[in-house]
């Protein structure tokens, strides 16, 4: 009988040990680019899943209950913050019943908390459109802010999983250095670029980082569809300010953007906020794609 007990115990131990030894952190990111930043820091010590898809509007991800299955066993949830995911993330967190990733818990990480925020407002009214009172939430388009977020994320991962703290910090440092080098190279290449017009105020961090003047927006106010009068004024502005590029998010590429491009003669550039790809390489590929598109259209 004792032999059977010991055998069962040994079997249990052998069965469990490999699981414990290879247990990876379960990280869920709301947006693809955030997933790539998280993967760049977590490396082989974490498994990253992403809720939104490449090309999807981060404001309007359908809150499919099936997405909550990823959150149910997550150790860490990485969000953009500043209310960007407010319209779809809270019901998924609620459905997941995972108390570790609730706001205020160590398992909830908002990248916006780790970076300098632009566009914060003291007083906000919905007459101003779909504005985010705490600031513009599209910070990950700026590689330097992405680097800051990665460094902060490494500290959070180190807190949750101290055994791999050194590796998280090393990966974040390497990622930050790579982005810093990229920015230094490109800042000089894009010096003196002519003004651009964008559909939504999604590129503010990117344009400020690379000193690209933004002359106006196709949306008269964030989230508000343009009127004919606004478009007429915008076309006139494009002519007077010598705007050469029209930046559009993939999910806003439609009739209105094409019409403005045709009427104004500005080049229409699809500027994704994420591309397919793994970890640091995926994120860098997105930034390089944006930069090359901008530089190419300038020539």
């Amino acid at each position: 009988m004792t032999l059977i007990k010991h055998s069962l115990l040994a079997l249990l131990l052998f069965g469990l040990l490999p699981t414990v030894a290879h247990a990876k952190l379960h990280i869920v990111a709301t947006l693809p680019a955030l997933g790539q930043i998280a993967a760049a820091v977590a490396g082989e010590d974490g498994e990253v899943r992403v809720l939104a898809r490449v090309g999807q509007d981060p404001h309007f991800v359908p809150p499919k209950p099936t997405l909550a299955r990823h959150l149910a066993d997550a150790d860490l949830l990485v969000t953009a913050g500043l209310g960007l995911e407010m319209g779809w993330l809270p019901p998924l967190i609620e459905l997941s019943r995972n108390s570790r990733i609730r706001q205020g818990q160590p398992g909830y990480f908002a990248g916006a908390d780790a970076v300098d925020i632009l566009g914060a407002m003291q007083k906000v009214d919905r007459a101003m459109g779909d504005v985010h009172p705490e600031g513009n939430p599209h910070w990950w388009i700026d590689p330097i802010r992405a680097a800051s977020a990665a460094l902060a994320l490494s500290e959070r991962l180190a807190m949750i999983d101290p055994t791999h703290a050194v590796e998280y910090r090393q990966r974040a440092e390497a990622f930050a250095k790579r982005l810093q080098k990229l920015v230094t190279e490109w800042q000089s290449r894009l010096a003196g670029i002519s003004p651009v017009v964008s559909y939504h105020d999604s590129y503010r961090y990117f344009s400020e980082r690379f000193a690209i003047p933004v002359a106006g927006f196709i949306e008269p106010k964030p989230g508000v569809e343009a009127s004919t009068r606004h478009l007429d004024e915008l076309v006139a502005l494009i002519g007077s300010k010598h705007v050469s590029q029209l930046w559009v998010e993939p999910y806003h590429l439609g009739r209105i953007a094409r019409r403005v491009a045709t009427l104004s003669g500005a080049e229409l550039l699809t500027m994704p906020d994420a591309v397919e790809g793994e970890g640091a390489d995926g994120y860098v590929a997105m930034i390089e794609l944006l930069l090359e598109a901008v530089a190419g259209a300038q020539k």
Partner: protein
């Protein structure tokens, strides 16, 4: 004498301190004037140098921002976990108001005519917040027809083993539509099948509901059981007296691919109906489905439907009344803002006198414009044939009659109104 000396000394003291104070104030003013003169000089110099540069260069400089230095900021995220703007209201519940302005024009058999043009037919005041880490409270107070009532008010307790307990008044999770607030639906009316089953109002219960979502593979399965009292006078007691009933429900949602989901569900309700002293049970069973497709541009389509059957015992020796209510809805989203829809409603009622079925059908079509996240307009046309008693009463026509109805609804929301169920 002594008093006079004291007065003299006090006056001298006051005079000297006053002079000292005035002197120090003058000194301070002198310093301020000097600083202002210095600042004016600096500004004048800057202005002169700007004037000396060519106008074009100055304009170009004004337009051309300077690149931000590629300095990686190191912060301690633990210090910034909550931002001021949200922290200010963190102790208060979220409060939102939904206004439902609904107009209708009905023309029915027998010369029935009625119309109303966009009155505020219903205003919902929605309050919600976590009570503590274990529970949440959601309350919806509705103002309609000159009165106010708590339409929903329930505590959601997060129990161990992934169980959720909802206690209080709630729209009952029967079929797909009954649990949803009308403003969240694409159409402006209530499907005739549900009107025949529960009356024109939503089927509400006061009691306990226990549910458990299970993540199985790529799907979510939710099991619900409940016990409640209801005053529904169509499915249960015609006098509106509270009756107790139990509920069991299953619903499952599968990802067919990144863009497509399939939902299936079934439910059963049973309780005393109070029509007679004995043999007076009401049983309701049914199922629902929803196939949804939405691509990245937010264009897509849905096909959904539900079917319910009600067995309503009328007492010993009397045949039970049997009713079916169903609908089939198809929607097409042209883009983020515009949607088209069409709905077919079908109901039938067993008639013991003829041993046959009385059948009612209706067809609807409409267009919905989502102006922004917080307001939308729906225009809908519905043609009803052979109306059964409940629908006939709702439309104001005689049973068996026909009606053409136009609905115009404008729904607006203010406040932090949360996401609607998927």
């Amino acid at each position: 004498m002594r008093y006079a000396r004291m007065c003299f000394m006090l006056a001298a003291l006051l005079l000297s301190t006053g002079n000292a104070y005035a002197a120090s104030e003058i000194e301070a003013l002198k310093v301020q004037v000097q600083q202002m003169l210095k600042r004016i000089e600096q500004l004048e110099t800057a202005e002169k140098s700007r004037e000396m540069r060519p106008a074009e260069t100055a304009a170009a400089d004004a337009d051309q921002p300077k690149p931000a230095t590629p300095e990686v900021v190191r912060t301690n995220p633990a210090k910034q976990s909550v931002r001021a703007a949200t922290a200010e209201n963190s102790g208060n519940p979220s409060i939102s108001v939904v206004g439902n302005f609904a107009g209708q024009r009905i023309r029915g058999t027998g010369g029935v005519r009625s119309s109303s043009f966009l009155p505020l037919s219903e205003a919902e005041f929605i309050f919600g917040a976590n009570i503590d880490p274990h529970a949440r409270l959601d309350v919806t107070v509705t103002a309609a027809n000159g009165g106010m009532a708590v339409e929903e008010g329930f505590i959601t307790a997060r129990l161990p083993w992934g169980l959720n307990l909802r206690a209080g008044r709630k729209f009952l999770p029967i079929g797909r539509v009954n649990e949803m607030h009308p403003h969240a639906l694409i159409y402006a009316d209530r499907p005739n099948g549900l009107v025949n089953m529960f009356g024109p109002e939503i089927f509400i219960g006061d009691g306990l509901l226990l549910d458990r979502p299970l993540f199985v593979g790529d799907s979510v399965q939710t099991l619900t059981a409940g016990f409640f009292s209801t005053q529904n006078d169509v499915a249960f007691d015609p006098t509106g007296t509270s009756q107790y009933a139990g509920l069991a429900r299953w619903s499952g949602l599968w990802d067919l691919n990144d863009d497509t989901t399939l939902e299936l569900g079934a439910n059963y309700v049973q309780g005393k109906n109070g029509i007679a002293a004995s043999h007076s049970m009401t049983r309701i069973g049914g199922g629902h489905f929803a196939l949804k497709y939405q691509d990245i541009s937010q264009a897509g389509f849905t096909l959904e439907g539900e079917w319910l059957r009600r067995w309503q015992q009328q007492g010993a020796g009397v045949a039970a009344a049997v009713n079916d209510g169903s609908y089939l809805l198809a929607t097409a989203a042209l883009n983020k803002s515009w949607q088209l829809f069409s709905r077919f409603d079908y109901s039938r009622q067993y008639d013991p006198t003829t041993l046959g079925w009385l059948k009612e059908s209706a067809i609807s079509a409409g267009i919905a414009w989502k102006i922004s996240e917080f307001q939308g307009i729906t225009l809908q046309y519905k043609h009803t044939r052979n109306a059964l008693a409940e629908v006939a009463g709702d439309l104001g026509i005689a049973s068996g009659g026909r009606a053409n109805a136009w609905y115009l609804r404008w729904v607006v929301a203010i406040g932090p109104h949360g996401a609607h169920p998927y």
